[in-house]
Subunit: 333 residues, 2 copies
């Protein structure tokens, strides 16, 4: 643990909390340098059809018509988050998923105040690996929106010398929150409508987020008229390693040594979020629409080993971490 | 120490000992990707005037005439290396430096078998920072060779978005050896004549090289006719942190966990040696001429912190290392 604290202190002393802002998208070479430094950058001026003020509710409904789309539903806005169930156990809970039309979804944001709806299927819901591999199984609930959404960001694909692994559409409002986590992906994230509020921590501050192992559960609803409830998954379901700090913005949630960075991303702005950076995401009250392009992390070199080390996963560090766990609510499934 | 061993094992499991060979120099973007991965690459086809078979002894003498050049002289070929003096103490010993003409130097390689001569002034002896900063103090002992030596490697300068920090000329033979060490520079190293034999270890295997702190000394000669002897520097001279493994090729010099990589670099070939990689260098019997371009390491991001961590310098790791030191010959000056 001392190693991790030393590393995070040195990293912050050298890099501070500065976030670079570019007034135009980078060239492939400029972006390659940026990705090498591996710090978040806000990019203005990424013009794609979706960001050209055309994605009104009417436009989206007209394009999508009554095609069914998969929407996450929770009572509290916490999809993919640690939640304590009535049995007193903290689970990693996945959302209930309902199929509805785009019109249904958009009307929920003004109407249903008892549940949180979030289009966040994040499985490459616009373009998945199947699209790039040119296989017949390529399917998207949003294929009619594809003309407005480029399948790749050219300066990013050129820089990494690869296609994205997944391109996703996100639609939600302030009720939906993404709990803090990190991904093994380089991420290009563009806001189309509304505002996104990111709280970021560098990979070196992973120790501040106290990852624990949680049993898996899911919100279910027996019938459309009954309330959502947490259903623990069978004991054979693998446990989930997740931060026990859901919202780093709550007072006392982080140790004094943490240096969270807040980034407000307006419509038309793009965030480069490097692989391994921790992020908690909130949205404005209005309907917030975003797109993201995930590129696989570079496995050669030091990056993967370093990120694994800094998370403590599978490293000697994990022992030190688990020694710290007394008093936590962790249960092994 | 366990952290460092874990890191080096994981790094090797992921990367192996493969060295990529390019049949032509990379583009700036290709090189940026290579530098991001930060593993050595052998590059063929870097054509500069110096490598066009023109640098015969006659040519070099004709160009240089009787200009004085600074040459390192040692009794054993170990310039900048740990050597045990007659007083029984191991010092980090710098070479004696003699001024001579190019003709003098080249004749030494066939003639004087009792001493090792190595042109290795490595202070930007062809182009130094003063050249790139355009200041009046720009001076090179080899300025007449500059037309044969480009001041920068364009794909490297474009990739890093900077000029080199130093460009050096090296001339030696098999008597001169460079003890294993690492530099805080990205290094482009081209062999002009002869053959260079590199033994490389990744930054993650720094713990195998047992860095220690040594008092400083220098070879001196009271007069041209007396023998070279080691003169300890005044106690106020800072001690030098250096590997106590001089030659990693000797049996038993490295622990079983080390994975040294041997690279033979022929005339006309270029090695990209990333910042922080450990290297031991030998040369062929024939006169071996080489050039290198050093570019400052990128200080932003994780690289510097990681290299510092892996060397144990200034980190909690150093404690573990110094605990291991019983039985070593280290003396603090």
């Amino acid at each position: 643990m001392e190693c991790l604290k030393w590393f995070s202190r040195e990293y912050h002393d050298l890099n501070g909390s500065h976030i670079q802002v570019l007034d135009r998208p980078p060239t492939p070479l400029e972006f390659s340098r940026i990705a090498h430094i591996s710090r978040p950058v806000v990019i203005h001026g990424l013009h794609i059809p979706a960001t050209k003020d055309r994605w009104s509710n009417e436009y989206l409904c007209d394009k999508m018509k009554d095609r069914p789309i998969s929407v996450s539903v929770t009572p509290n806005g916490l999809a993919d988050a640690v939640t304590t169930a009535p049995d007193g156990i903290s689970y990693f809970v996945e959302p209930h998923v309902e199929l509805m039309t785009m019109g249904d979804l958009l009307s929920k944001f003004d109407g249903d105040t008892t549940r949180a709806y979030y289009l966040q299927s994040q499985n490459g819901n616009v373009y998945s690996a199947a699209y790039f591999d040119n296989v017949d199984s390529d399917f998207s609930e949003f294929d009619v929106l594809r003309p407005d959404i480029p399948s790749e960001i050219h300066w990013c694909s050129k820089s990494f010398d690869k296609h994205p692994d997944a391109v996703n559409l996100w639609i939600g409002d302030s009720k939906s929150i993404t709990s803090i986590h990190c991904d093994p992906y380089e991420n290009i994230y563009t806001v189309v409508r509304g505002v996104k509020y990111f709280t970021l921590l560098p990979p070196s501050e992973g120790w501040c987020l106290q990852e624990r192992t949680y049993p898996h559960a899911q919100y279910i609803r027996a019938s459309p008229s009954t309330e959502l409830c947490i259903k623990p998954s069978p004991p054979s379901t693998p446990t989930i390693r997740w931060s026990s700090v859901g919202d780093p913005n709550l007072p006392g949630a982080l140790p004094d040594e943490a240096n969270p960075i807040n980034v407000v991303l307006q419509a038309g702005e793009t965030l480069y979020l490097p692989a391994g950076w921790w992020h908690h995401v909130r949205q404005s009250d209005e309907i917030t629409v975003a797109l993201n392009w995930w590129y696989d992390i570079e496995m050669r070199g030091m990056t993967w080993v370093l990120l694994t080390f800094l998370r403590g996963t599978d490293s000697p560090m994990i022992k030190g971490k688990e020694d710290d766990m007394e008093g936590s609510e962790v249960e092994e499934a």
